[in-house]
Amino acid sequence: MAHLVRSSKTFYGGVHPAEYKGASEHLPIEILPLPHKVVLPLSQHLGAPSAPCVKVSDTVKTGQKIADAAGFISVPLHASITGTVTAIGAFPHPNGRRMEAIVIEGNGTDEKEPAMSMHDPLSLDNSPLKQAVIAAGIVGLGGAAFPTHVKLSPPKEKTLDLLIINGCECEPYLTCDNRIMIEQADRIVEGIRLLKKILCLKKAVVGIENNKPEAAQSLAKASAADPEISVIVIKTKYPQGGEKQLIKSLTGREVPPPPALPMDAGVVVHNVATCIAVRDAVVDGTPCYQRVLTVSGDAIATPKNLLVRNGTLLSDIIAFCGGTAPNLKKVVIGGPMMGIAAVTIDVPVLKATSGLLFLSEKCAISYAESSCIRCGSCVRACPMGLAPSTLCGLVKKRRWDSLKEEGALECIECGSCAYSCPARIPLVQYIKIGKAELNARARKK
């Protein structure tokens, strides 16, 4: 296929963790049976938490809006099952805290809220398409959960020339994007064409790591009819799917340091799963209430790629996957490099939850921090060209001004530094602490 291109261009730094994708990459997507209960946190995205628009004991249908967006950088939230709202209050959130959430107990049916579907949306104006995305509550499904419509509303002074679709899935273990690219390539391509239309862009490229040849072939085939969509197969290297790294690998452009955005390099990046959500929102009128995620790890009976409803509790998913092994040590929500270790399995999956990993003692590392031996591994691993060991030292010494000068705020928190550290120093954790302090100090001023 002419528009399937291999490229050896890549970004500086990065690491090559073992992939662990074999357990699930060939497993077709299965549908998780409707859960009896869902917990839908109001904060599932970057930005302001959604504002509830239902009350306890209201009956809701699948897809019905239950919370409104609270500002521009916010999204609405939709019921993911049919039933009754039984509680609105603080419940355990994957981030480890208790956060406001709406709880729905299902009645066993899956009655859909009537939806507005669009016929031939590509012939329509941009504005109803964008409205459909806004109304569907779509966030970046690659993991960052940034409201998608914000990235579809470039300020007038920014000129864009390229839409980049992220099919890298560079996190070990995760295979859900791989599966949707293999099984639902047509829907992804429909989504890409809608995104191009909304952004008034002609060209789109899809970046896929070279460990997913089947996915690349599938997407190239599905997009064969559109000469303005090309698929570029790039090196398998973490964090290839990092927004800035992907832009660098595909275009050679470097997004300037914050507050600059990819738009400042003339591009917008969306994940493949987000493309499907956009397509479903526009074509079918279906809001963002379900997604495909990967269940994997050495302490789960049967790894799976699962289509799950938003707010499904981990315990329901575990049961469907045959339960956990007795040597279960750690549950990771997301990928192993950037995911969060769950405190309890009584937490829900969110819109942007791309994986659940169940790890035994053998696979779950713990940080027994020893002295930095100044080996420089972290410096060579950092894809942002920072010196993580230096940043870590500055955080420990609370030298905030120097920390800022050394570029701590440019850290993308990918974890390559801590991965590569032979002294097992949780470098990225120290840098996150430093960034939080810097941000807090900036707000005070």
Binding site: F11, Y12, V15, P17, G96, D161, K244, K248, T251, G252, R253, E254, V255, P257, A265, K329, K330, V331, V332, P336, M337, M338, G339, I340, A341, A342, I345, L357, L359, C363, A364, I365, Y367, S370, S371, C372, I373, R374, C375, G376, V379, R380, C382, P383, G385, L386, A387, S389, T390, E410, G415, A418, Y419, C421, P422, A423, R424, V428, Q429, K432
Partner: protein
């Protein structure tokens, strides 16, 4: 109970302990060479130095309430490297003093592993060299040389007796120098054995080419210029590359992670500085050999180099449209 902890939840398999153990493994060819050339004396010096360093490490970890681990192999590495810097005829008290200095003044007064600015083995070598110059500069001949009388190193002969005497003593064969069949300290004599060991560390990615290449390259270029100008006064650059402790220094001491810069550019600068200082000392200094001094001096520059030579931060390329 689920374990919680910060991301990432994966780590590469090599930890500090493994890196240090690999350095020990990489030193095995040079250990073997020293045993071949110096026999039992070599085993005696090595065993005593390693044992002393490990014991002192344990003592100081405890004394200074350091949480560092005795089983991280770092004391063994220091022990071997210190032994490599001693003559095979070293008396026991010299070895014990050296080990004490390496562990205390070289490492633990700064806070132990990772905090020492200078290479501990070299601190000890220089301490001993200044304190007991005779002990540190009388080297037994190797087992393959006539008569077991102490003699000077090739660099020593060059410094005190001049080029003609050196050429006579080497017998015109460069192989003796590269293989190590010349008088010298335990581990510095065989450039070949050191290089083989270093290849293993290159393969593992624990040392990088920058410092050794810049170090040896600078010595070669610098001494080469003077050799070309006045071949009757100055020894050839090939001699300078294989003589003395340059290989040991360039591959195993100047690549010590703790005391050298963290960036590639910084490493090149470090290696260049080492090569320059080594050459200047060898050609015009009071001592015949300058490798140890050069590395210690550049160790002192490491914080400065790290401050000014930084990795290139992402986002500085202002490219916009294709």
């Amino acid at each position: 109970m689920l374990a919680v902890g910060p991301s990432p939840h994966l780590a590469r398999s090599d930890d500090t302990q493994r890196i240090m153990l690999s350095v020990v493994i990489a030193l095995v060819p040079a250990i073997a060479a020293s045993i071949v050339f110096f026999g039992f004396d070599s085993i005696r010096v090595l065993a005593l130095t390693i044992a002393a360093c490990v014991v002192f490490e344990k003592v100081f970890l405890k004394l200074f309430k350091n949480e560092g681990r005795i089983d991280d192999w770092s004391a063994v590495v220091t022990g071997i490297l210190l032994a490599f810097n001693l003559p095979a005829s070293s008396p026991w008290w010299l070895i014990l003093t050296g080990s004490l200095v390496a562990m205390l003044l070289g490492k633990h007064i700064y806070g132990g592993l990772g905090h020492n600015p200078f290479n501990p083995a070299l601190i000890a070598r220089i301490f001993l060299l200044i304190s007991w110059p005779t002990c540190m500069t009388s080297f037994p001949k190797t087992r393959f040389m006539a008569d077991g009388i102490s003699s000077a190193t090739p660099l020593g002969i060059l410094k005190t007796d001049g080029l003609a005497k050196l050429q006579a003593s080497l017998g015109g064969s460069p192989f003796n120098l590269a293989l190590g069949n010349v008088p010298g300290s335990l581990g510095e004599i065989s450039a070949l054995a050191i290089f083989i060991g270093a290849l293993y560390l290159f393969y593992k990615g624990y040392i990088r080419w920058h410092i050794p290449a810049a170090f040896i390259g600078t010595v070669f270029a610098f001494t080469g210029i003077f050799y070309l100008a006045q071949p009757e006064t100055y020894a050839s650059p090939v001699f300078h590359v294989f003589a003395g402790g340059l290989f040991l220094g360039a591959f195993f001491m100047a690549t010590d992670m703790v005391t050298t810069p963290i960036t590639s550019a910084g490493m090149l600068l470090f290696g260049f500085g080492c090569g320059l200082i080594t050459s200047v000392i060898r050609l015009w200094g009071g001592y015949p050999e300058g490798v140890a001094f050069s590395i210690l001096i550049m160790n002192a520059f490491t914080p400065l180099i790290d401050r000014y030579v930084k990795p290139a931060r992402f986002g500085k390329i202002k490219s916009r449209k294709p």
